[in-house]
């Protein structure tokens, strides 16, 4: 195994595959620098080592993180997720967001919410919410308002169908420039889509055949390269006309 002598900044492993246990930075030779560590990395005394396998990413000036795709989600503050109501309590709704613990959605966390107009959600309702608090060891907290207190797009998602995917696919669906599959489908069909970064997305359209088509196309395109996606979509869209 090659070992790179003398630490360099930025790390020499950026944009490469790293595996748990790899040491990517040596802090003893870098003085007076603040680093921001994202997901997948931890500080082990004087060195930064990898916890999850994936690709190491770096943005200037000082942010490092490991990019990986999994079926479970690790809650972090500011994420927009799709949750399913599991239980109702007097103060909170218990919502499942595919993480290690159930999340709490306070009953008053809605625009114009007071004790008199508490929304009634049944078990199994699908919600588009924002993560407000995600400390380890505590249940995450959610909110149906954005940072300014407006409802925005958050709330109940009616009709349509929810699909489960990996977190990596969710991130690529939300990236810009837009995902090629979404672009191509959007040119021919009209549908509504909501993507949660926790590995869930919801599709709604006037006909259920469109919903099934869009959902399956997105799920299948995860394993195809860009060129293969174009070919697959052309065939698909031709066959429905």
């Amino acid at each position: 195994m090659e070992t790179k002598p003398s630490s360099t900044f930025p790390s020499t492993f950026v944009d490469q595959l790293v595996v748990p246990g790899d040491v990517i930075l040596d802090l003893s030779s870098m003085a007076n620098q603040t680093l921001k560590l994202g997901g997948g990395l931890r500080q082990d005394g004087d060195s930064i080592s990898v916890m999850k396998s994936g690709t190491l990413r770096f943005t200037k000036p000082n942010k490092y993180w490991v990019e990986s795709s999994h079926k479970r989600y690790v809650p972090s503050v500011g994420d927009n997720v799709l949750g399913v109501v599991v239980d109702t309590k007097p103060d909170n709704f218990l919502v499942d967001i595919k993480g290690p613990a159930l999340a709490f959605l306070p009953v008053l966390a809605f625009e114009g919410g007071t004790r008199r107009n508490i929304p009634k959600f049944e078990v199994g309702t699908l919600l588009y919410v924002r993560v407000v608090n995600a400390n380890t060891g505590m249940n995450p907290e959610l909110s149906c308002m954005d940072a300014n207190g407006k409802a925005g797009e958050y709330g109940v998602l009616k009709e349509g169908y929810m699909f489960e995917s990996s977190t990596g696919l969710s991130r690529t669906l939300l990236s810009s420039p837009p995902y090629p599959t979404l672009e191509a489908l959007g040119k021919k069909l009209s549908f509504e889509i909501a993507v949660g970064i926790n590995g869930r997305f919801w599709v709604n359209a006037s006909q259920s055949s469109t919903v099934i088509l869009v959902g399956n196309a997105i799920l299948k395109s995860e394993s195809l390269s860009v060129v293969q996606q174009k070919i697959y979509l052309e065939k698909l869209l031709k066959s429905i006309q």
Binding site: K4, L17, I24, S47, M51, S69, T172, L224, V226
Partner: protein, 195 residues
Amino acid sequence: MIAAVYGPKAGTRKNENPEKACIEVIWKPKTGQSGKSEREYEMTLQSICLLNVHPNTTTSIVIQVVNDDGALLPCAINAACAALVDAGTPLKHLAVAICCCMAENGQILLDPSKIEEQKVKAFVYLVFLNSIVSILPEGGKSMEHGILTSVTHGVMAVDDYFSCLKLGRPAASELSDFIRNCFKSKAGNDPSKAA
């Protein structure tokens, strides 16, 4: 051998320490039931997982034996490790397991099959830490020599044991290179990379 990782799920089992995560290993042999051997697997896997990232949760690892062709424990450890990485469980390192056995003529065989395993007088399962790609010039060495677990069956001399260890280390580093390449080819299907 099929390994599946479920979790982290809320709650620890049997009131164990709620400050740490709990790892549970369920071993399903091809026929019949299993007893205390799963405790060994549990302890090995517990030592490579980081236990304080998700406190008060349980991660279950289910290992199903499909075909037994010798060297069952190393196969199970390698499969469980790959499953943990795929699931994104925070790990300190990867564990790489191999099996060495002593044949009658004094030779050491690596990775025996079931028939060979039954014929030899002693064999040993070794689990090493994987070799890491590191920025530190010297720091990587002390880690590579760590043994996680060693299980022996049968009778062997002390010298034979040490020579098994010596042979086992390069074998383990080759295995860890192989595992690293497997992850690379799997990550290569990422659509963001293809664009």
